[in-house]
Symmetry: D3
Subunit: 135 residues, 6 copies
């Protein structure tokens, strides 16, 4: 009797799309205005979903207060009001597309969540573009 | 060629999180302000999703008017403007967490929906916390 | 050159609609299921709007971090996860309709905001019902 | 390491629910006011989701600009500000329920998306009714 | 001490933009694809706002259940699942732009609301286009 | 018989809050993490509202297609995927707070809109922070 519990959070960040092994021209061709060297930014909306059995004593799959604090400490603290390309170590040489950001978030949260629970990340880059990663 | 059809509904209710086999202190430790003995409440947003084949004659998986009325009769009638702990029999001895409420809703709707159709419940307790149960 | 700055917040609370000078029957006639003596509850969404001149040095009408903290201290601390009728002194003898709650919030915030600034409260009781009070 | 990328779009259209092999009476019985011969209409909100591996060079599963243009050319161009029953060939003899529209959209997009990628369509007919089709 | 209370409602309808005193060519020039003679449609989201003093006995400006029923009887009954141009008398010779629809709604509701109360209509034609009329 | 017509648009941009006449320390004290010299960013949601009489022939206050194109040419073209501090001339020496951005947008649009029409700008910096400027 598995249930999925989900918690929404958000962070604001600057980024640019850029493959550091390509020429600037090739980056411009591929990423267009997203490659702007002066950066642009987003209000990222994040949904963290955890799936597992309900614990009979608490009626919880996972305490949402614990999940909320975990997201605040591991993700918001690291990403909020930051320049992803310049200030977040994972993106020094990794292009901060929504796809890659969702994988990095999954990797940062996975060690902190009981291994019996499945983890899924949904990340809205804009109200019209979003990605989902299940590990 | 299976399609999932979903219908949103809502109800407002009071509740508290409370394990009746625990002391008040242990409830406070575990559930914090959610254990407030005077209750608090939520606008629950409910999504009921039904999956099955499209009937060729109607183009429907299930008539959404029928699903809307079913949710109104079985769920809204029982839960809306109620105190879940005190006035809904299923929660007399079951902690009304979002997880448990989603299971109770699934169990209340399942007998009324054709067994060929799969049923999934998504329940928003707040705009930032929600759960999903597939049976 | 006046600008209005607005900040959204929220709190969850239980309440019932009840005029303590009326009989139970008259309360039931007037307020229907909202008068349920076991209470029901809502996710209240609150928008606090402050209007005034932009300060040239900061580019702010009012620092939104200050406004956010003010709402947390004065409103969320007092109302969140509470039973409005039983635990919030303002509603011991005042019916906690959305209209009256918005006036109480305005009165609680007004002394903490510079008198040169206008204050407006918008309060969503449900996604479909909301009220606005400008003082 | 599969990721799902999703893009939202929308179109406005008129339709009526109608099985052309049934009598008007039977259509009225089944579809009620949705069978109104003068038509009614909706703001359809469309989510197109594509699942596959992240390309290491770009960090993309699929370029969202390409997906946006594909939806504009294949779906919005064909459906927006149209009468689905009278002006969209697929629905001349197929009842334009949300279920059938989602299948038609899937079929129109499938040939234009790399066969290594999975495709899923979510279509909101109203804010409270929506369908999902995975092929 | 005036408060504004607002109630959201919705209706789905077909329409076309068309000035019946103009040639088809001139209508096409002015209204583009909105003049499609086969019609298109929208999910109209309606907000009805009423402003006045709080009645001390009830704590209400106006009973929202009464307002909800009034909107259902006067507006939803007349407009929902209808073709505005062909089936709603007010638009036989009046172009059903969002502006004109908001004025018609205001005129239909005004006689049913206490003259001491101010009335305002907000109408969303799409999530990105909306109008407001205060009489 | 005045009606307000509103159009939503959006742009993504990087910025930092910074008064160029202050020391870095004073900027840090005042603006906190919003002063990050590496920038952060937002999905700005913009609502442009125009108020005036309905033209009897068209039923329009202002053609929304014209307003949509005007916003695209004057605002989205100038701000979208840009670094406001470094690439938008108006903010070279003006702090790009939401308040100041709304005034700049108003000034950029005002000359292009008929002087008989009133103009109002609402700008969401995040889903929880927004400003309104009426000129």
């Amino acid at each position: 009797m598995k249930v999925t519990v989900s918690r929404k959070a958000h962070f604001n960040a600057a980024h640019r799309l850029y493959n550091c092994e390509w020429s600037d021209e090739r980056n411009d061709d591929m990423f267009g205005k997203c490659a702007n060297p002066h950066f642009h930014g987003h209000n990222y909306e994040l949904i963290v979903s955890v799936t597992g059995e309900i614990e009979p004593e608490t009626g919880y799959v996972m305490d949402m207060k614990v999940l909320k604090d975990l997201i605040a400490n591991e993700i918001e603290e690291a990403f909020d009001h930051k320049n992803l390309n310049e200030q977040v170590p994972e993106f020094i040489s990794l292009n901060p597309t929504a796809e890659n950001i969702s994988v990095v978030i999954w990797n940062k949260l996975r060690p902190h969540i009981d291994s019996k629970l499945e983890l899924e990340i949904t990340l809205y880059e804009t109200p019209r573009n979003f990605v989902t990663f299940k590990g």
